[in-house]
């Protein structure tokens, strides 16, 4: 298993440009997540998905969009890039049996995409 893969590894955007960060997992996990990591700030959840066709906002969703058409893929879209979106982006996945609270799942992370917006 490759686990969680992300492309590209690095990208430089100009203000106002758009791009899609790709994330794929081959572990048949139902939950997938997008985080951003800023220096000294830990990880902040952008969006997450509990299964194909279902997505929801996390802590910092503004400026981003997601879709989940398959179990394996969870792309993150930046429509109008801004300097505030300069960050390292991590995708993660986990498996949960059933819905509801009480999650004890372990999240598995991809290697990250380093994005700079100039």
């Amino acid at each position: 298993n490759a686990g969680v893969t992300q492309t590209p590894k690095f990208r430089i955007l100009k203000i106002g440009q758009s791009m899609t960060l790709q994330c794929t997992q081959d572990m048949n996990h139902n939950y997938m997540y997008w985080y951003r990591q800023d220096p000294g700030m830990g990880l902040k959840l952008i969006y997450y998905s509990v299964g194909a066709g279902i997505t929801d906002k996390g802590e910092v969703p503004n400026g981003y969009n997601v879709s989940r058409s398959t179990t394996e893929d969870f792309p993150l879209r930046l429509e109008l890039a801004a300097p505030s979106q300069t960050s390292v982006y991590f995708c993660a996945s986990s498996y949960r049996r059933g819905s509801g609270g009480g999650s004890t799942d372990t999240q598995y992370f991809g290697p990250g995409t380093r994005l700079t917006v100039l």
Binding site: G42, L45, A92, S103, T104, T106, Q107, F109, P111
Partner: protein, 113 residues
């Protein structure tokens, strides 16, 4: 609100000495606590988690963590540090309201030869 705090931005330790990376938490109800490690230019890797049971949890690479309910702490420990343990360590807690992980700001561990 649920939260975790990592009070040290950096911890320095000599190789072969014991290491401790501190984490305190604030949750309502029973805490589900996690430790992750991030090596340079890599994603986060799961080390260990506490759900219930024994207060001492053993994880990957010889690490362990001690859950202390009275002190609301979940410190990461290792009896003998290696230079290869040098990395960024994150503590996380499950938010009981949203069921999501809340991460601390991270502690950089530097092990010197």
């Amino acid at each position: 609100a649920q939260s975790v705090a990592q009070p040290e931005d950096q911890v320095n330790v000599a190789e072969g000495n014991p290491l401790t990376v501190k984490c305190t938490y604030s949750v309502s109800g029973n805490p589900y606590l996690f430790w992750y490690v991030q090596y340079p230019n890599r994603g986060l890797q799961f080390l260990l988690k506490y759900i219930t049971g024994d207060n001492l949890v053993k994880g990957s690479y010889g690490f362990e963590a001690e859950f202390n309910k009275s002190q609301t702490s979940f410190h990461l420990k290792k009896p003998s540090a290696l230079v290869s343990d040098s990395a960024l360590y994150f503590c996380a807690v499950r938010d009981v309201n949203t069921d999501k992980l809340i991460f601390g700001t991270g502690t950089r561990l530097q092990v010197f030869p």
